[in-house]
Amino acid sequence: MELSELWFLLIGVLWVGFIFLEGFDFGVGMSTKFLAKNETEKRVLINTIGPHWDANEVWLLTAGGAMFAAFPHWYATLFSGYYLPFVLLLLALIARGVAFEFRGKHHAAKWKTTWDWSIFLGSLIPPFLVGVLFSGLIKGLPIDENMNMHATFFGDMVNLFTLVGGIAFVLLSYLHGLMFITMKTNGQLRARAREQALKIYWVTGAVIVLFVVLTGIFTDAYANRGAIIIPMYAVAVLLYLALYKMVKDKKEGFSFTLTGLILVLVTASFFIALFPNVMISTTDVVNNITIYEAASGAYSLKVMTIVALTMVPIVLAYTIWSYYIFRKRVSHKEHLEY
């Protein structure tokens, strides 16, 4: 494997990690609108992700930084091409991030309402945009011969296929978040999260199936990489069916693992569908940008590889440790920081 391929894999891992981790805290953020019946419950929900959301978001920053360093052309084309979606993503993440910290520091109704909406929309918009973005990537975008993308907002970026992709990510994140809540709370909230999960189970399932079907119609993913992706999607659907029983049987840890695995499989499938390209052009096949064209030089990649191989295990170790420290269920009987 060439270093550029290794970095394509690493960036895939970073995005998968981001979706898995921030996925549930997006879900918890969304749940504050539907699940909590009073202020204390709202606070319990927010506190379940309190110590973790910031570090989870760093996965996104690292993915962005790694794309810049390892594939400057990918970073340049993608971020300038998807200009407006990224502006919206940034606005959502900004509002959401401060909301966690600011919300509990002042006790006026208007203040709380403002930050409640920030948390809700800031948790809803990002997974939607990420879904739209990745579906767009595998569908292909108008890339010119200078590697620049000139995409229309409605049409190239937002269309039937990418909309379904966006909604699928929102629903899956929400489900993933609900499963996280069943693991991290007690009593009514825990029960309500479970009920809610069962309530949206079939709708979410239908959207996933629709997305799998539309992928066949709108992209070349099955034609090019069907041998890998079709089994992956088959596994994802089976896991989704198993999820129903797990939720019914109140197997909370398993349920959470299942929603996580489904998100992992779907996100990973995007990178497999792209390979060996990083951008697929709809204007002309020769305008596809491949991993090798987009990559940094051998020296730079070598330096980055050494740094990453040293640092990633350390980062993973203290991340896991911090989840271990906060493994207890969050209860209103204890002090709530946020």
Partner: protein, 468 residues
């Protein structure tokens, strides 16, 4: 060309805004770590109270710093895609390493610090804030390594039509980085120190919690004096570096049009006429510029006119003179603020140690107002550094106007500029509001307030807390 201007305004505004919060985070993390260390070592509850009280400001500020930092990671690609293509091979690595090495560390351990007061053993909790402090300082190192490449490109070769890294260690031992890093770290400590000084002064004027704020004042005045002196020395090293590596920036910062005499006088203030490329009047101190540039009382400096001619030979036709007035005045604002802060912290310490500070109400009011000085100096310093580098985005390698994204329209940039400005204004208002509220609340935690920290394992406290 409209795109270049708008993209520059957006970069300048988002970066300057981000840098309001960053230095305070870096400095405050360190000061709080020191306070908590004193708590753990001396077992004096006062220091725990101090860590918690100043920690509130830290957390409010840190949140805004984090979210405004996300834009920094993305906007190179969004607005400056041609720049990203050209330098990504060199410039991307420090950014990625910053995220991997620093962001993960600070975000994970800040979570442990906020939520860990009752869950972690004392020493582990203390270690968390030290790791946050180290994380913030590491983050500054990597982002300055990236910026230093823009000021003084090293460790690269031109290959495949772009700059490619060929010496990673060279990138990290960039002369510019070695002088800019201590300057920035000292400036960060100074920013935090003067926030503590200002708020402590206000409380001393109001005669609230005198003992608590005297202790805070003592720590922060010491940090203030040491850091402002550090700023001066590292700043002096910066200007000596500047003469060598970026003579045009130096000439603009000093409004030197013609080559200077030997020894060179330092211009304190001047009436600059950029159109006719001369100064109408100036106040000068003999010998001083030679000393500032070379550390001795002799030596001359090239003027902008000569450098312009030299650059035209080297790079072809064009205007290589940066906006002189902005560079000149921002430099002076920075130096004046710095000098004032050295003076204030020195007088403050003398008064405090002679036990006269409490009663020097007039001087305390000065200290309160001085809270803004570091922010003025920090912003002015970056304006001087970045404006003084123009017209280059990477000094001598790439012009700013060549770096902009060809696929992004001016309308799109205008939209994002307005959107970011609006949300940043709201953030600033909310933050100032919370700061004032926290100051008014004071360091004593009231049991009625449901944000109050109570020990869940303390049986007596359990019933006293109201959960609404």
């Amino acid at each position: 060309m409209e795109e270049v201007l708008l993209a520059r305004i957006q970069f300048a505004s988002t970066t300057l805004f981000h840098f309001i919060f960053v230095p305070l985070s870096i400095g405050l993390a360190f000061i709080i770590a020191v306070m908590e260390t004193l708590y753990v070592v001396k077992k004096d509850e006062m220091y725990k109270k101090m860590s918690k009280f100043w920690g509130k400001f830290f957390l409010i500020n840190f949140a805004v710093g984090v979210v405004t930092g996300i834009i920094q990671e993305f906007q190179f690609g969004m607005n400056w895609s041609d720049y990203s293509r050209f330098v990504g091979d060199v410039f991307g690595a420090p950014l990625a390493i910053e995220a991997l090495l620093a962001f993960f560390m600070e975000s994970t351990f800040i979570g442990l610090w906020i939520f860990g007061w009752e869950r972690l053993p004392k020493k582990l909790h203390l270690a968390s804030i030290w790791l946050v402090s180290i994380g913030t300082a590491l983050s500054a190192l990597w982002i300055l390594a990236a910026n230093s490449f823009m000021q003084n490109p090293v460790g690269y070769e031109i290959a495949n039509g772009r700059a490619e890294m060929n010496d990673f260690l060279g990138l990290l031992t960039n002369q510019k980085l070695l002088v800019a890093y201590p300057h920035t770290i000292f400036a960060s400590l100074c920013t935090a120190a003067f926030l503590l000084i200002g708020i402590s002064a206000w409380n001393m004027i109001k005669k609230r919690d005198i003992e608590f704020f005297k202790k805070s004042m003592n720590i922060s005045l010491i940090v203030g004096l040491v850091s402002t002196l550090g700023i001066a020395f590292s700043g002096h090293a910066q200007s000596q570096y500047l003469v060598e590596a970026q003579p045009m920036k130096m000439a603009a910062a000093e409004a030197i049009w013609e080559n200077t005499t030997d020894p060179a006088p330092w211009t304190v203030v001047a009436g600059i006429d950029t159109e006719n490329q001369k100064n109408n009047w100036s106040v000068e101190v003999p010998y001083l510029l030679s000393y500032l540039s070379y550390g001795k009382f002799s030596g001359d400096l090239p003027g902008m006119k000569a450098l312009q001619a030299q650059y035209e030979d080297l790079y072809g036709e064009g205007n290589y003179i940066p906006p002189v007035k902005t560079t000149f005045w921002s430099f002076r604002i920075m130096v004046a603020s710095g000098g004032l802060m050295i003076l204030l912290s020195l007088i403050g310490l003398i008064l405090l140690w002679r036990k006269k500070l409490e009663t020097s109400i007039h001087f305390l009011k000065w200290l309160l107002a001085a809270l803004f000085l570091p922010y003025i100096a920090n912003s002015a310093g970056w304006i001087m550094s970045e404006i003084g580098r123009q017209p280059w985005v990477v000094n001598g390698l790439m012009l700013t106007e060549s770096g902009v994204s060809p696929s992004v329209s001016s309308g799109q940039i205008l939209f994002s500029l307005i959107a970011f400005s609006l949300i940043y204004t709201l953030l600033a208002v909310a933050m100032v509001y919370l700061f004032i509220k926290t100051i008014k609340q004071g360091p004593h935690e009231k049991l009625k307030d449901d944000t109050t920290a109570t020990d869940p394992f303390d049986a007596n406290a359990g019933g006293a807390v109201k959960w609404n």
